[in-house]
């Protein structure tokens, strides 16, 4: 498994944790060690990390909304009694 194109073709699945462990180790070893693939690997890691950071800064629901939803759920719950 040293074919760069093949490894790059599996890179996203590797980053997504979607390939079996043994193969994942091979892919990772190549991505870390290959001069050609390593910059691509780092680039994709940065991209995915940036996405996660961007999303973490998204807003949370308003407290009034959370309270109202809980009230409604509570009401329905007691309808079952």
């Amino acid at each position: 498994m040293t074919d760069c194109r093949k490894v790059l073709g599996r890179m996203w699945e590797f980053l997504d944790g979607e390939i079996p462990q043994r193969e994942a180790e091979e892919v990772r070893a190549h991505l870390v060690g290959c001069e050609h693939c390593n910059p691509q690997y780092k680039l994709q890691l940065r991209f995915l990390n940036a996405l996660v950071r961007a999303h973490a800064a998204r807003e949370v629901p308003r407290p009034e909304f959370v309270r109202r939803l809980r009230e409604i759920l509570g009401t329905i719950g007691s309808d079952l009694r």
């Binding site: 997504d16 944790g17 979607e18 996405l51 719950g77």
Partner: protein, 201 residues
């Protein structure tokens, strides 16, 4: 509200509420953000979130404890969203599945020069740009990128949430990421964040 055709649950109402609180309601923030990413509108996201949890509560007996509650909630949320949208539009996405070449081609085409990317992804304003570009992605790509990259769902769970084959999930995810990267590059060029890249075409 109570469906007599449902299997008899041994859980008392209090136990049901406690279980719902512990396994479903803890995901309120996450579901709200998912709803927001679908609707792009705070008020609509609240309505959608509320629909989702009310529906989830009514159908709580269909949830298998210990399984992926988020994926289950996302499925409900998305179905509710679809239902709302169906009145307005109809669309039939098509898919191809040349995944390996797609993924590899995406990297060639993403055209972020790896060297220049060093500081690029740490640029302070990148977060805003990413959020905006993510919101602008075509829906079929956006929802997969959100579920995978932001909500950390597996391909298999995404396939369940969306009701599409696994290959379609991958195809849409890879295309979505590629589009997103291309748009980031465009933005970066315009803003002068990427130095002399020259060889884009």
């Amino acid at each position: 509200m109570f469906d007599p055709t449902m299997p008899q649950s041994p859980a008392t109402p209090d136990a049901k509420r406690a279980a719902f609180e512990a396994e479903a309601l803890v995901h309120l923030d996450v579901v709200y953000r998912y709803a927001l990413s679908l609707t792009h509108d705070r008020a609509e996201a609240e309505d959608l979130t509320q629909d989702t949890f009310l529906r989830a509560f009514r159908h709580w007996d269909q949830y298998t404890p210990g399984t992926n509650a988020r994926a289950w909630l996302f499925t409900i949320c998305r179905n509710q969203f679809r239902r709302r949208r169906e009145r307005q539009a109809r669309e039939e996405p098509t898919d191809t599945e040349e995944l390996e070449s797609l993924a590899a081609a995406a990297l060639q085409a993403s055209a972020v020069p790896p060297d220049a990317a060093e500081g690029f992804f740490e640029t302070p304003e990148l977060g805003d740009v990413l959020r905006k570009e993510l919101d602008n992605l075509p829906e079929e790509f956006r929802e997969v990128v959100i579920l995978s990259d932001l909500q950390d769902q597996s391909y298999a769970d995404i396939a369940t949430v969306l009701g599409v084959p696994l290959g379609t999930v991958k195809s849409r995810l890879f295309r979505g990421r590629r589009l997103l990267q291309e748009r980031l590059v465009e933005y970066a060029r315009d803003a002068g964040l990427l130095p002399g890249t020259g060889g884009t075409r």
